[in-house]
Every structure is written in structure tokens, then in C-alpha cells.
């Protein structure tokens, strides 16, 4: 039952056993810290800045400490002191400028981990403090400029790292709104979120005659490869980056592993020994990237029936101290900002600003959860102004096949929003439950009960694959090899970080070639052995990379079938004859986006994504009106996945992503003081447990995308992060009548909101609009 051997006709659409499952349930899967100690191996540690902004004057090493067996690395030891990313602003180690708390300054390595901890304490940093900026509004005002735009990146002389505009329809948006009978304005905000993968970040690095090696918990081995090329100036062929089994990433292991891998490799280079660098949980929460906080202002106009007419929106995101991936996060944020609705007239402005907080980075959803929370909550306000149910308003304005998005993209394929909305509302009996729970609350109030119940919902769509021309520039590749005995081997840089890449790619290849899933191998992703498939991000693995796995395996199947026709025999026999004749058979393919995908990076108009996945979330909650604790009692999810290659894993993605959104909405809150985190532990940064999680009822909708593999699969990794928070906020509003437009909805904050206090984190300056 568990060997993956199933009927040869088709594996796509079946929930085959997880390919990497057995090793994970018996404890033999080797995560980075499970890899055997190497001879002479040292442990590595980082000395970090305690202050948020300043000038490093001196580094003092306690003279009474025995430094004889401790390797020390400083900024001067880094050949090119830059982390290769979008902008050249982030040093591998701070040299003189300190731009955020926890910024790495000195690296240490020692064979004895206890002594290493003492060595960290024996280093003191002499930092002359400078005035920091923590608040997005203050940063945008430009009173204090805390970011040097490298090479003119962003808007020099200000804290603005990136700005985007999307426009559509009437040129005078304000006039279009003013002409509407119903005008609604609001401000919405969302906060930091820690990915909190259960396996902390870690890398082991060493140098030998072949060059430099790094293996670890990594989503994107080629990012680390690129970072090594930049920092060490080593030839690409002498850099070997390998993914170990990875215990969750959610974006947190997209770009940050470049930093920890560079640190480990610097220590390894200087010491001449292998260096193992594994973060403790506290260091991981403090120093690594998080979800960008955002504040969004919206003004809209619609007619009295609820037909949406015009949207004006400004979103500001807090990038933290360095650019990392913020321009791309902001891009995805603005591209999803109008939600999944028809807007004839649109103006969206997106701005990413610098603050003296640790750089924010990739996290599932990548900017979209922030803006989707804002637009969903805003439409709830519009519905209230109209006296309509929010979902009735959303349903009547929902994008359909042939409609135009905010970027003037014609939705030409795979539009499953309506089915998701209808499916989730029917499964949850949303409209009936609204009325039933109103009656229930009236009864509870009369009886003196201190708990109230509510139901709320949200709608969203999420673009799959890189934005616009991204895939055209990226040129993702995969190789499929024919191996002895009729086996196939997939070689790809797309990693399995828990989401199931290994299993799903095997299914796709098996069906395409006409073999069983058990006959397909998946090579361990290492930059030495696998082609660059592009990063494992952006809901692109199955839809984009999977589609070339399918084409490559189809070609192998075709070649073997031709050989069978010519000389007979089984697939394995014909395959072996082919290998005997040709020596080897490898199909290496590069992804080509459909020709019709047209995007203009200057005007931000066109096909932002070839297609979108769609989802409707419904949540029922119970709120205690004394403690303001919210319990999510049940959730219904309906997601349009195009084609479910592995239905169980699709449900696992939708449910797992939704629970991350529930945590973000209700309990996950980083508490900051002077740019430092007061709760960097699992004890006080609260993610949901099995008891906090609601039972999920999950419906898969299949509106196939013809460019996707297996009969039309679309990317769904990020989608479920989008709709959870606004559905919860709507349900809480239904339960207790408190409108909350600012996350999180912790009991304390919900109590404050119930007393009419504002939860807005900052006020944005109303500068001249461009």
C-alpha cells in the first residue's frame, strides 16, 4: 500500500502516498542538524547589534577570554560585502553603519558550543547611536532619512525604496468617486508576522578542492549560489549548494538562507574547517525576515445598488532596514489590491519605505494578504453603508470570465471565483446562519450569557507564477533523465519544503511518460546536479515548473514508445535499448510562458498573471464579551485549484495556509520596543495549536488552466493566506458588532476597539499625489 505502486493508467487526481513520507515518519529524514558531524567541524555564532541605528566605533574582545581556538570574522574579511538581492544595500556584516537591531557584526566559530556562547558574550560593540525611525508614517514624511539609496535605487534623499502606480478608466479618479451616490473611506492596517517554520534556519558550509559547499534548510538553492558568486567572487562551477530536508519555509527560507550560508561559509573559509550554523528559536525570530506591516487608505464610490464604480487606494509597506525583496512584495501587494472585483476606474499607489527594523521579506502571500485584508474589510464597510450583506455585494461585483482586472487584463481562462463563492456559502449555509446566529445572540443576551457568535466570509484571487514578464526573464529549466530499468529521474531546483513537490512532480511525470509513480525518482536539489528552475516561490512550482516536467517526461515517453514500436518489449526493455544505443537520454526544457501573456512594466498594465486561483473562506466564531477572546469554531473553504493533482495535498495547503492567516488575525503579534522584539519565543509569540484550530471543511473547485500540468493545475501555495483574516474580522464584527480594521484582533485590542479606541498603528502624511 505504501510503496507508491498504483495502477499505471493515471496517478494525477489521486492522493498517492507522500513520496518522502516514510522517511519522515520513522525519523530517518535528514534535516540539516541531523546530518552527521564532519571531521573537525566547528559551530558558528553571530554577534549582533543591540541598537537599531548608529555608527559602529569599535569592536572589543575581552582580553581575559581565551580566543586561541575561536575563529573571528569581521566585515573586512568579506571579499565583497554585499548580500546579492534586488538592490545592493545590505552588507553581509555591518562595517560601520548599523541600520537595525540584530544586525550581524561579528561571526565566531568554535568546536565547543558552550565556549562559543561565552565567546559571544565576550565581544562588545561600541556603537554611537543615531536617531532611528520605526514608524511607517514618520518614515514616509522624510523628516529623518535612514536609508542610503544604493546607486540611486528608489527615491534618493527620502526613505522611499519603491513606488508603483496602477491606473485604469477615468483619469480624474477623485471626480469619478465624488460623482457617486455612495462614497466610503477607510484606513486598514496589518502587522508583522513571523513565518515560524518549526525547523529553525541552519546551514553547514565547508571549502575543499572542489570549491565551496553549503547544505541546509533552503527554499531556493540558486539564490544562495548567486549570493556566493557575489560575495566570494568564486566561479559558479565551484559553488555547490544543496538542500537538506527542509522543515517548513513559507517564504522565510526564500532569501534569508543566503545570509546564514554566507556567514557559515565565511567562518569555514577563515578556519579551514566545516562550520555548522543552526539558529536557536530566539535568534531566528529576532534576526530573520518577517511579513511586511502595511497601512492602506481606501476611498471608493458605487451606485445605490452596490455596483462598484471607482477605487482610490494608497498602500504603504514597511520594508525594514534593507530592500531585500520588498519591491516585489509591494508589486504583488498592489496587483492584488483591488481584490477580485470589477472596478471601471482605479488608482492604486504602492510605496515601500525604510525603517530601522530587521528587513522584512518573503512570507506566503507576499504582499497580497495585506491589501486583500484592506479591500475585503472596505467592501464590508461599503455593504454596511448600502444595508446589504457583504457577500451579496461581493457576489454582484465578482470578476467573471472576460472581465477586466485593475491592470486592464482580460480574464480569458480558468475563472472559478463564482463556483468558490457559491460552494462555500452553500456548504456553510452562510445566509441562513447569519439569521440563525442573530437569533442565537438575542437569546443569549436575554439569558445573560457572556458569549456571542458570528459568521463572516471573504473572497480572493491570487495570481500564480511570477508577475508579468517575470517568467520570461527567469527562464526556469528542468531536466528529466531516462534511467536503467525504465525509470525516470526528475532534476529540478524546485524544492520540497513540505508542500509536496516531490510527490506531485512524480505524479505529473509518471502520467506523462506512461509509467508508475514508483518508477520516478526525484534528485536531491543541488546546484551542481540540477538546473535552475527558478525559485520555489510565488505559487509557481506546480503550474510553471510542473508544466515543463510534464513536457520533458512526455518526450521521454514518446522516445521510449517509438523504440517499443520498432523493437518491441516492455517500457523498461525498450528504455534500456535506447540507453545502450545513445549512452544517455536527458530532456532539458526551459519554460515558455504563453505568447498571449503581455505585460508592460512601465505602465503596470496587462496580464499580471496568466491566471488566478480563487477562494472563498467562511468562518464561524464565538467571542467572549468579558475577556474578548475569540474562538474560531468552524471554517469552510472553497478553492479553485485548476486541477487537483493530489487532492489531499491541495486540502492540506488550503487548510494549513488558512490557519496561518487565522493566527495572524487573532494571536500572532510581535511586540516592539526601540526596534527590538520583546517576545521572540514560542512561549509568547502565539501560533495556533490543534485546539485553537477550527475543524475545516474544504471543497476543491476545478476550473482548469490549459497551461497547467496534469490537465490544468494552478498554483495554490499562497492563495489560502489571503482570505482568512478578513473572514475572521467579518465574523467577529457579526458576533459583537465591533468593527476592526486593524490587525491583530487580540483580546486586548478587541476590547480597546469595543470602547471606540483607534487601533491604527500610525498616521500617514498626506503628501502631494503624483
Amino acid at each position: 500500500m505504501l510503496d507508491g505502486r498504483i495502477e499505471k493508467d493515471r496517478s494525477v487526481g489521486r492522493s498517492v502516498p507522500r513520496a518522502d513520507g516514510v522517511a519522515k515518519v520513522v525519523g530517518t529524514a535528514r534535516y540539516v542538524d541531523d546530518l552527521p558531524r564532519m571531521p573537525g567541524e566547528l559551530h558558528g555564532a553571530t554577534v549582533r547589534s543591540p541598537v537599531a541605528r548608529g555608527r559602529l566605533v569599535a569592536v572589543r574582545f575581552d582580553p581575559s577570554f581565551d580566543w586561541s581556538d575561536v575563529t573571528v570574522v569581521r566585515a573586512e574579511d568579506v571579499p565583497t560585502n554585499l548580500v546579492a538581492m534586488i538592490a545592493e544595500d545590505q552588507p553581509v556584516l555591518a562595517h560601520s553603519a548599523i541600520n537595525h537591531a540584530y544586525e550581524p557584526v561579528v561571526l565566531l566559530a568554535c568546536a565547543d558550543p558552550q565556549k562559543l556562547s561565552r565567546a559571544v558574550e565576550a565581544v562588545s560593540l561600541d556603537i554611537e547611536p543615531l536617531e532611528p525611525v520605526f514608524d511607517m508614517g514618520r518614515s514616509l514624511s522624510g523628516e529623518v532619512v535612514v536609508w542610503d539609496s544604493p546607486g540611486g535605487f528608489g527615491e534618493p534623499g527620502t526613505n522611499v525604496m519603491k513606488r508603483y502606480f496602477i491606473t485604469k478608466g477615468e483619469s480624474d479618479v477623485d471626480a469619478a468617486i465624488a460623482a457617486c451616490p455612495v462614497v466610503v473611506s477607510g484606513t486598514y492596517s496589518t502587522h508583522h508576522q513571523e513565518q515560524l517554520y518549526i525547523e529553525p534556519q541552519g546551514v553547514i558550509a565547508w571549502w575543499d578542492e572542489a570549491g565551496v559547499h553549503a547544505t541546509g534548510s533552503i527554499q531556493c538553492p540558486y539564490y544562495v549560489h548567486k549570493a556566493f558568486v557575489k560575495a566570494f567572487g568564486v566561479e559558479a562551477t565551484r559553488i555547490h549548494v544543496t538542500q537538506a530536508v527542509t522543515g517548513g519555509g513559507f517564504g522565510g527560507k526564500e532569501e534569508y538562507p543566503s545570509v546564514i550560508a554566507l556567514h557559515a561559509a565565511l567562518l569555514a573559509k577563515k578556519s579551514g574547517r566545516p562550520v555548522r550554523m543552526i539558529y536557536g528559536r530566539k535568534e531566528d525570530i529576532e534576526a530573520t525576515t518577517k511579513r511586511h506591516p502595511a497601512i492602506t487608505e481606501i476611498t471608493t464610490g458605487c451606485d445605490r445598488d452596490g455596483k462598484l464604480v471607482a477605487l482610490s487606494m494608497r498602500v504603504v509597506m514597511d520594508a525594514g532596514a534593507y530592500v531585500t525583496l520588498s519591491p516585489v512584495v509591494l508589486s504583488r501587494g498592489v496587483l492584488h489590491a483591488a481584490g477580485c472585483y470589477r472596478w471601471p476606474t482605479v488608482r492604486i499607489e504602492g510605496i515601500a519605505v525604510a525603517t530601522n527594523t530587521p528587513p522584512n521579506g518573503a512570507f506566503r502571500g507576499f504582499g497580497a494578504p495585506q491589501t486583500i485584508f484592506a479591500i475585503e474589510r472596505h467592501l464590508d464597510r461599503v455593504a454596511a453603508a448600502l444595508g446589504k450583506d457583504p457577500m451579496e455585494l461581493k457576489a454582484m461585483n465578482l470578476l467573471e470570465l472576460g472581465d477586466l482586472t485593475a491592470t486592464s487584463q482580460v480574464l480569458r481562462t480558468s475563472v472559478g471565483g463564482r463556483q468558490c463563492l457559491d460552494g462555500a456559502l452553500a456548504a456553510s449555509r452562510y445566509l441562513e446562519r447569519r439569521a440563525e446566529l442573530d437569533a442565537e445572540n438575542a437569546r443569549r443576551a436575554a439569558e445573560g450569557s457572556r458569549k456571542r457568535v458570528g459568521i463572516g466570509a471573504s473572497m480572493c484571487m491570487h495570481g500564480a507564477g511570477f508577475t508579468g514578464s517575470g517568467e520570461r526573464f527567469l527562464k526556469g529549466k528542468v531536466a528529466v533523465d531516462l534511467e536503467k530499468g525504465g525509470r525516470l529521474r526528475i532534476r529540478t531546483g524546485s524544492t520540497d519544503i513540505g508542500q509536496g513537490t516531490e510527490t506531485v512532480f512524480r505524479q505529473i511525470a509518471a502520467d506523462a511518460a506512461g509509467v508508475s509513480v514508483a518508477d520516478v525518482d526525484f534528485a536531491q536539489p543541488s546546484t551542481t546536479n540540477v538546473p535552475d528552475s527558478g525559485p520555489t516561490v510565488a505559487s509557481r512550482t506546480v503550474m510553471v515548473v510542473g508544466s515543463i516536467v510534464e513536457q520533458a517526461a512526455t518526450e521521454i515517453g514518446r522516445r521510449v514508445a517509438a523504440e517499443r514500436e520498432a523493437g518491441g518489449g516492455s517500457f523498461a526493455e525498450a528504455g534500456d535499448r535506447l540507453l545502450a544505443k545513445e549512452g544517455s537520454l536527458t530532456i532539458l526544457l526551459q519554460y515558455q510562458p504563453p505568447d498571449w501573456v503581455q505585460w508592460d512594466d512601465q505602465t503596470y498594465k496587462g496580464d499580471a498573471y496568466p491566471c488566478y486561483s480563487w477562494m472563498c473562506d467562511v468562518a464561524e466564531v464565538e467571542v467572549d464579551i468579558d475577556t474578548y477572546e475569540t474562538e474560531v469554531s468552524r471554517m469552510w473553504l472553497a478553492g479553485d485549484v485548476g486541477k487537483a493533482i493530489h487532492p489531499l495535498m491541495c486540502k492540506g495547503q488550503l487548510e494549513g495556509g488558512t490557519l496561518q492567516a487565522v493566527g495572524w488575525a487573532l494571536s500572532e503579534e510581535l511586540v516592539w520596543r526601540e526596534g527590538r522584539i520583546l517576545n521572540p519565543r514560542m512561549t509568547n509569540y502565539i501560533i495556533p495549536t490543534a485546539l485553537d484550530a477550527p475543524p475545516f471543511e474544504t471543497l476543491l473547485v476545478e476550473c482548469p488552466y490549459e497551461g497547467g500540468p496534469g490537465g490544468g493545475a494552478k498554483g495554490i501555495g499562497e492563495l489560502p493566506m489571503d482570505g482568512g483574516a478578513p473572514a475572521i474580522a467579518a465574523a467577529v464584527e457579526h458576533a459583537v458588532g465591533v468593527v476592526v480594521d486593524h490587525l491583530p484582533l487580540t483580546p486586548e485590542r478587541l476590547f480597546e476597539a469595543s470602547r471606540g479606541e483607534s487601533l491604527a498603528p500610525t498616521t500617514l502624511p498626506q503628501g502631494a499625489r503624483r
Partner: protein, 173 residues
């Protein structure tokens, strides 16, 4: 300090510093890296093992406490050729995604099914409340435990036909 204890059913004699964490002893001294470290302070449950049949966080147990006691880790549940019903269900029914929390959850679930062979959904959630999972949303973990409970009942019924504790043979819901 010399310590005699039972590990996954076998008698073991070790000589280790008494304050060494059981987690480090398992992973580094006893060759059992299946037990994972997620936080090192007893919050995440990734290092859950059974000590005399009760779940504990191995990061909070010192090996000096082990004398004469029994420890069960994920490696003691079954190997690749002999998966226990729980292990098999986590492979087939979506209980494992990234897998880092899986060993601790399997051990906690094993303890539940020993005490309560036919648990309700709330009993399953209660038993696993000390084990954090960031991937699954827990629904597939709950389903996997239910599937395993049915399989255990089926196996028990097959071994002892008179006991009559058969589960629902209908498979996953």
C-alpha cells in the same frame, strides 16, 4: 554518571553528564536523530518522547532522571519496513507535510491511542495540543489519527476475534 534505562524496548547503559538534555543524548550520543528540536524550551513539542508511557519534552528532561525508566522515541514505533498504523496513516492521509513536527506528534498520538483506542475529535486535538504544526492546519493530522485508530482496532480485532472492538472499515472520511 552511569545510567541504566530502557530505550525503545532495549536495555541501555550509558555514561553521560547527568544534566545533559535527553534530547541531546538521543540525537548525539545514542544515534537517534528522529527526535527534533524546534525551540529548546518546551513549547513546540517537536522533541516529544514517552517517558514511562507519558509524553515529555526531551529538551526539558535531564538524562540523570532516566535511571530505571523507559523511553520511547519515534524510532521505537516502527521502521520503514514495519510502519505502525499511525506512521502509515500519516504517510497516506496527509498528517505529515514538512515532517519536522511529525515524530513528536506520532509519539503523542501513540500515547493517546494506548489510553483511548477510539478517541473523539476533541480528544485528539486535546492530546496533540502540546505539539505545534505550522503546515497542516491540523485537520489532516486529526484525520490521520482517526485512520490509525480504526486500523489498530482492526488489527486488534484480527488478533483477538472475540474482543469485538472492530472499527469502521470504511477508510478515511
Amino acid at each position: 554518571m552511569k545510567i541504566h534505562f530502557t530505550l525503545n524496548g532495549s536495555a541501555r547503559d550509558v555514561d553521560l553528564p547527568p544534566m545533559m538534555r535527553l534530547l541531546d543524548a538521543l540525537r548525539h550520543e545514542l544515534g537517534l536523530p528522529g527526535t527534533k528540536e524546534g525551540c529548546g524550551e518546551g513549547e513546540c513539542g517537536s522533541c516529544t518522547v514517552l517517558l514511562d508511557g507519558e509524553p515529555v519534552n526531551a529538551c526539558l528532561v535531564a538524562v540523570g532522571q532516566l535511571e530505571g525508566r523507559e523511553v520511547l522515541t519515534v524510532e521505537g514505533l516502527g521502521d520503514a519496513a514495519h510502519l505502525s498504523p499511525l506512521q502509515a496513516a500519516f504517510v497516506t492521509d496527509g498528517g505529515a507535510q514538512c515532517g519536522i513536527c511529525t515524530p513528536g506528534i506520532l509519539v503523542a498520538a501513540e500515547r493517546l491511542l494506548r489510553k483511548q483506542p477510539d478517541p473523539s475529535e476533541s480528544e485528539i486535538r486535546e492530546a496533540l495540543a502540546g505539539n505545534l504544526c505550522r503546515c497542516t492546519g491540523y485537520q489532516r493530522i486529526v484525520e490521520s489519527v482517526r485512520v490509525a485508530a480504526r486500523e489498530r482496532a482492526r488489527l486488534a480485532g484480527a488478533a483477538q476475534p472475540a474482543s469485538g472492538a472492530a472499527g469502521d472499515p470504511g477508510g478515511a472520511s
